[in-house]
Symmetry: C2
Subunit: 320 residues, 2 copies
Amino acid sequence: MEGLTVELRRGPHVESRHVVHAVVADPSGAVVRSWGDPDRLTHPRSAVKPLQALPLVETGAADAFGLGSVELAMACASHNGEPGHVSTVETWLARIGCTVDDLECGTERAHLDQDPAATAARNNCSGKHVGFLTVARHLGVDTAGYIRADHPVQELVRAALAETTRTALDPAEAGTDGCGIPVHPMPLHAIATAAAGFGSPSEWAEARAHAAHRLAAAMVAQPWYVAGTGRLCTDLLTAGGGDVIVKVGAEGVQLVALPRLGLGVAIKAEDGSVPASEVALGHVLAELEGADRADVFDSRRRITNHVGTHVADLRVAAAT
Amino acid sequence: MEGLTVELRRGPHVESRHVVHAVVADPSGAVVRSWGDPDRLTHPRSAVKPLQALPLVETGAADAFGLGSVELAMACASHNGEPGHVSTVETWLARIGCTVDDLECGTERAHLDQDPAATAARNNCSGKHVGFLTVARHLGVDTAGYIRADHPVQELVRAALAETTRTALDPAEAGTDGCGIPVHPMPLHAIATAAAGFGSPSEWAEARAHAAHRLAAAMVAQPWYVAGTGRLCTDLLTAGGGDVIVKVGAEGVQLVALPRLGLGVAIKAEDGSVPASEVALGHVLAELEGADRADVFDSRRRITNHVGTHVADLRVAAAT
């Protein structure tokens, strides 16, 4: 299968092998470059959280509740559920007159195994969900059921996704995400097109372009709130200084806006491997930016064991 | 690529796709059946822990220190580091006059993130390592450096691996495992041959055959100590009642002995996915045993989200 072949080598031999699709588009939807299949049908999952957060700003909800860059970054986040993430969500919930009981995202099994008292505020999607609740409050509609496809909040979210990806989203084709909201499969190039628009929204309507600027600026200003300690999104947003707006999603999907270049990138690991998608992104960025961001990617390409010995390498071995 | 194609479907569409190699051999090394590439060079990692534990029994070390089925199961384990696993390792270390400071496996980053006081006893390989220390004590050699290829313990382990897999192991080809010991790449069919012998060791020398019986019986008697709560090895050893001796390894490798059928199975996910390797194993076992072990595998084929909604399926879509 064509694409970026990412190999895990241990000693002199290949241990595992991944194939990763990547596509680069401009805001008009033109595909500038691709590896693998640019039409690969892809469930973008959490990679499109920055697009799903557009209604939070566009509707005026963010301003009505006085949200700052920390809250806007968290609306776009897949966070680690570290104490600072959880307390931010709890304070924000209180500000809109809600509690953790209003969150419909559930609590991850892994968090409950560590701490039986963990709440849905610790769910990696809790920032997105309190964002949805904020929109519901601002619209004056019932908050219950805000994750359902026919709720006014999800209708706004679906419209923002359809318009920015330039894709007709058929509810009959939708699946359900880990946190309960609808997830719409789309060609990989459509995600790259929306990413390009998010970073360079001059073709978007004024209110949406303004919302994209606010959200992108918040992600760059508060990278820890987008993911957390040790995570690629946090490290790359920090290193990128506004040149790279990146958001990971489950099953090896990455959405990247490159405002300086006026381009968007979408990545999908055929097998869903997040580490392989990260290393592939390093390769794509080096090609587009003309320089390797070694400070961010070397630690992801070089695998060390539990005592710190370098035991394996995860690298792009072929690019077609 | 040929093999077992394992698809993750969300809604009506494929989200991710894996290719898994599987091979079935008898104790003589004859390949009875295969999917994908039976010669696929494979780092068996933790899947061969039951073979690496053979010297513990063969040398008389296990009897000299009065080890029971719990300790022997842990010598073959990749455990969760739950409190019962950790306390067993600590008690065993004391019995041989060692402490956690003698373990050279390191402590996993994930455990330290949860608990900065976590020791190497919590490492998933700690049972294997205290087994190695027990052999060193019994031989009367220095325990320090027991993970090195030229230490007498690792020389015994390498000989057991080479003989049971019927493979010449070249130290120049070796890599280093996550826990610091050498890991030897070998064709997948060689792992299946050793698995068959482990479950049906009538062709093995008497002391080794006895050791295999003891270790297999311990794994069946104490399945929780082989892995832990919610893990495939524990669930399948429990359900199998001695008909299925299974051990997972990193990067999607499975070693399975089927004593009733006189066969061994080795599995390797091309991309290293453990969930895909588990679902593939369910398919292979159903083919060989003529019945689906739905009680063990249904929960692994049916993916639910954080609120318990069935959102996706992980299934074998093609077998070539």
